[in-house]
């Protein structure tokens, strides 16, 4: 049965059903997130169609190496998140904590690398107002970065609770739902990277 202090405890619901609903709620939220970024993708394609040369010039200012590195960093982070859920499902307390910590570690790596991209650009006077490509660039990566920060605070909370011994094979909904959000952040970057850096 559910532990005191979990979301499930508030409801007089069957824990399995509560778990399913908890997850479904997150999936529905993620659907709206896809549409949020989808609008920006549409803007990207419209501007790129109208001003292809500005996009080509702008894209050539981006550092593919850092972008690619960040893609890998986020994939690793996503992997350790998946492993965290797996550890929670198997009641492997120590592994859960270690994997969550690694997830956070790679997530901070992403932010630091992003800083190495943004700060020199801003110092060189490349700002969101520089041209239409950089408006799209800063808007999409900025909104994504905001998601990374929110995701990291979720994972931090999960880590704190995991250390408190909250999650085990009968109660891992929190880890799984936090994981769903984190994987979506990865999925969005998977699309942003080629669109902004490669083509």
């Amino acid at each position: 049965m559910s532990e005191p202090g979990t979301f499930f405890h508030l409801h007089e619901e069957d824990p399995v059903e509560a778990y399913e609903n908890f997850k479904l709620g997150m999936w529905i939220f993620l659907a709206t997130e896809v549409l949020l970024f989808g609008g920006l993708f549409a803007a990207y394609f419209i501007f790129k169609f109208i001003w292809p040369d500005i996009f080509e010039a702008g894209s050539s200012h981006l550092n593919r190496f850092l972008g690619g590195l960040n893609t890998l960093v986020l994939i690793f982070s996503s992997y350790f998140m998946a492993m965290s859920v797996d550890a929670a499902q198997r009641s492997q307390q120590k592994k859960l904590i270690r994997n969550l910590a690694l997830t956070l570690f790679f997530a901070s790596g992403f932010i630091i690398i992003k800083g190495f991209e943004w700060i020199p650009k801003l110092n060189h006077g490349i700002t969101p107002g520089s041209d239409v490509f950089f408006s799209v660039y800063y808007m999409t990566t900025g909104l994504h970065l905001l998601h990374v920060v929110i995701g990291m605070s979720f994972i931090g909370l999960l880590l704190k609770r995991a250390i408190g011994g909250r999650y085990h094979s009968e109660n891992f909904g929190g880890v799984e739902v936090g994981g769903l959000y984190w994987h979506l952040v990865d999925v969005i970057w998977i699309f942003l990277f080629p669109l902004l850096y490669l083509i």
Binding site: E17, W27, A31, A42, A82, V85, D86
Partner: protein
């Protein structure tokens, strides 16, 4: 629903396999982008991204074990997005863009000296960057077709002269047009295009007179236009045109640009 177990424990090795596949696909997509396949670059990049995303959804997010209701919420945003972006490709793909072609400038056009890849360098030389920047502004002004702008930029260099000239200029300030046409055009393309057509592009808000009409209306003196653009509500309370918070110099540039419509 309550009979089935909570979640689904996936075989351990799947995670590693998916991780390796994602890394491999990342390298693949970078490599493919180095070869120029024209429009296929976009398609391949999107296809690879789609495969990677599917792997994450299926195996990392355990989407594979989710029920139909959950999948409905996976498909519906994808369906909406594909419709939006598909329609957009059909629309813009077959449009004639030539009349759009020169609205905004790219960062490179605005900063011709900024070499490609400069941003990726170490930023230890921020000193240099500042110098380059001031040089650019100098040459930018040099490009301008209005001699007044050139005088202005040299005024900046010598503030004392600036003050001396200022008293002389008060008269001409209000009647003469001495802004930088190109700077004005660039501003207009950003700020005014939502309501006034700029170089034939943009919207024409009902009630907002075309620049051509204003420029050829002798009653619209530069002074009047200056006051108007600075604060429309002060000239005509309740006007629909917003106060855009522009500086004197920007207003002058805009007026110089509007004046190009004069026949």
């Amino acid at each position: 629903m309550s009979e089935h177990k909570m979640g689904h424990i996936q075989d351990f090795s799947i995670y590693i396999k998916v991780l390796l596949a994602l890394i491999g696909l990342t390298f693949a997509t970078v490599l493919v982008s180095l070869v120029d396949f024209g429009i296929f670059n976009t398609l391949v990049a999107l296809l690879v991204a789609f495969i990677k995303a599917s792997l994450v959804v299926l195996y990392f997010m355990h989407g594979k074990y989710e029920d139909r209701v959950t999948w409905a919420f996976v498909y519906y945003p994808i369906f909406l997005l594909m419709t939006l972006i598909g329609a957009l490709f059909l629309d813009y793909g077959f449009r004639d863009h030539t009349h759009f072609a020169n609205i905004p400038q790219s960062y490179d056009q605005k900063h011709p000296e900024a070499a490609h890849g400069a941003t990726t360098e170490e930023h230890g030389d921020s000193h240099e960057a500042v110098e380059v920047h001031s040089e650019e502004t100098a040459t930018d002004d040099g490009h301008s077709s209005s001699p007044a702008a050139a005088i202005e930029s040299s005024d900046h260099a010598a503030p004392a002269v600036d003050e001396m000239i200022e008293s002389h200029e008060v008269e001409s300030q209000t009647t003469a047009i001495h802004g930088d046409i190109e700077a004005g055009r660039a501003k207009a393309k950003i700020l005014c295009i939502a309501c006034h057509k700029v170089d034939g592009n943009g919207n024409e808000l009902p009630g907002a007179p075309p620049f051509a009409q204003t420029a050829n209306d002798a009653s619209k003196t530069p002074e009047l236009l200056r006051n108007w653009i600075k604060n429309p509500q002060e000239v005509k309370a309740g006007s629909l045109m917003p106060n855009l918070g522009l500086s004197d110099e920007e207003v002058d540039n805009l007026i110089a640009y509007i004046n190009t419509y004069k026949k």
